[in-house]
Amino acid sequence: MLRKLIKFDLKSGARIFLLLHGILLAVGLSGRLLFMNHLDFSEATPALVSSIVLFASLTLFLLMAVCFCTWLLIAVRFYRNLFTGEGYLTWTLPASAVEHLWAKIISGIIWYTLDCLVVAAVILMLVTGQNVTDAYSVIAPEVTAELGMPLSTFGLYLFIVMIISCFSSVIMTYFCIAVGQLFPAHRVLCAIAAYFISGLIIQAVSMGLMLLLKLFPGINLSILNGEQLAQYMFSAITLSIAIMFAVSAAEYAAVHYIMKKKINLL
């Protein structure tokens, strides 16, 4: 049953997802061929710098927009499938509430992971041209010293953190929507309120923990050397992952309870 649910969920969102990421890959490829490959790094002219800055911010904006659309797809599918008219079909299938929840969690994670992979692929595609790697190799030792590790390793860590945060983002989204539907009169509004309130609480708690563990980025961050910076980064990331897991576990428990006991379709 779980497999069937996931299959149908993926199938019904596939068209829009593939279209979106197909466009992103096409834009990435043409960016590499039409822009990046023509850059000449031998002379650092102001024109070169400003064109790179412009291109980078456009790319960043595009990547963020696609990520946002993916998130929206996940959120809308969860809401529409379970809590609107379609819910009458979904909730009368011979599947348990837990199966529905996990089907949505797994399909959400699959969307997000694919999204992260495509984003990573687009970034790699843009920066792996011969001219770029040659230019980078000149400043590589400096960057490595500054970060305390090679840039590629740093990127890999970022990627892993991104994948893990996908999981918590999916649960958080479902948590907010499920809480919202407890208030039949203003379901969407209450979902948004749940998002901000829970976000605020998590922010406050993690700030407190950082202060407690002396991980708060103080004024002397700039005078840290590479080694220390890397170390700081590691502990901060470990802490935030730990917080993320704890929050996700709590949110999961809440969604699980709501799905099992509090389903009241209008």
Partner: protein
């Protein structure tokens, strides 16, 4: 064998008002039962509770002895009183969906009915007229070999010709061990196909009798009796 549907002190509250209050009811297998009552008398709530898309505030509802859940949804076939299929789905995809998820779905039966109505399988549900969409939904629901069919206002929004088709569809497809519970306010149209009628008033059972009992006892049709009982 436990009764197909049993309510014990079943209560459903929305905010401050009661949709059902302390309902006790037992339905046997093999009957077509009309659920009648004015608007807001709790008809739809009772059906939704049985379908498992609402949770009771108090009391319990049992289907074949079990609380609504994955197990009961296997043998309960539910037609909501609104459109509930993804608008972007094609007719063929909706059939496929039912066939995938319900073991007791009979695709050949659905095919036969779709053919007799000349409904295009490639059509998107959003392109169908309201009446046709309701027929497609009913066809899907009635193509399952269920023990209990819950039909919420199956003939509400369609013209009299379509109404006859829908009643024929119900009569043709239900088997003698199955129970059909259908809510409606168009009593006179369906009186002849019912074994039994339930009158709901203010979330409570006002009458539970067989159609011929009512006619023998009161010498009048269920429709006439209904108008008298619920006179404003």
């Amino acid at each position: 064998m436990s009764p197909i549907l049993e309510c014990r002190n079943l209560t459903k509250k929305y905010g401050g008002s009661y949709a059902l209050s302390g309902l006790n009811l037992t339905l046997e297998r093999g009957e077509i039962i009309g659920l009648l009552g004015p608007n807001g008398s709790g008809k739809s709530s009772l059906i939704k509770l049985a379908a498992g898309v609402l949770q009771p505030t108090a009391g319990e509802i049992l289907l074949s002895g079990k609380a609504p859940g994955a197990e009961t949804k296997r043998f309960v076939s539910y037609l909501p009183d609104r459109s509930y299929l993804g608008r972007q789905m094609r007719v063929s995809e909706a059939v496929d969906y039912y066939n995938t998820f319900y073991d007791n779905f009979r695709p050949e039966r659905a095919s036969g009915m779709l053919d007799s109505l000349e409904i295009d399988r490639r059509a998107r549900l959003s392109s169908l007229s309201k009446g046709t969409l309701e027929k497609v939904q009913l066809i899907l629901v009635m193509s399952r070999d269920a023990d209990l069919y819950l039909l919420d206002e199956p003939i509400g929004g369609v013209d009299p010709a379509a109404r006859d088709y829908i009643l024929q569809t119900i009569l043709t497809n239900y088997n003698e061990n199955a129970t059909v519970l259908l809510s409606t306010h168009l009593i006179s149209d369906i009186e002849n196909i019912l074994d039994r009628v339930l009158f709901l008033r203010g979330g409570q059972l006002a009458l539970n009798a067989s159609v011929d009992e009512i006619r023998t006892e009161y010498g009048k049709s269920v429709d006439t009796l209904f108008r008298e009982v619920f006179k404003c």
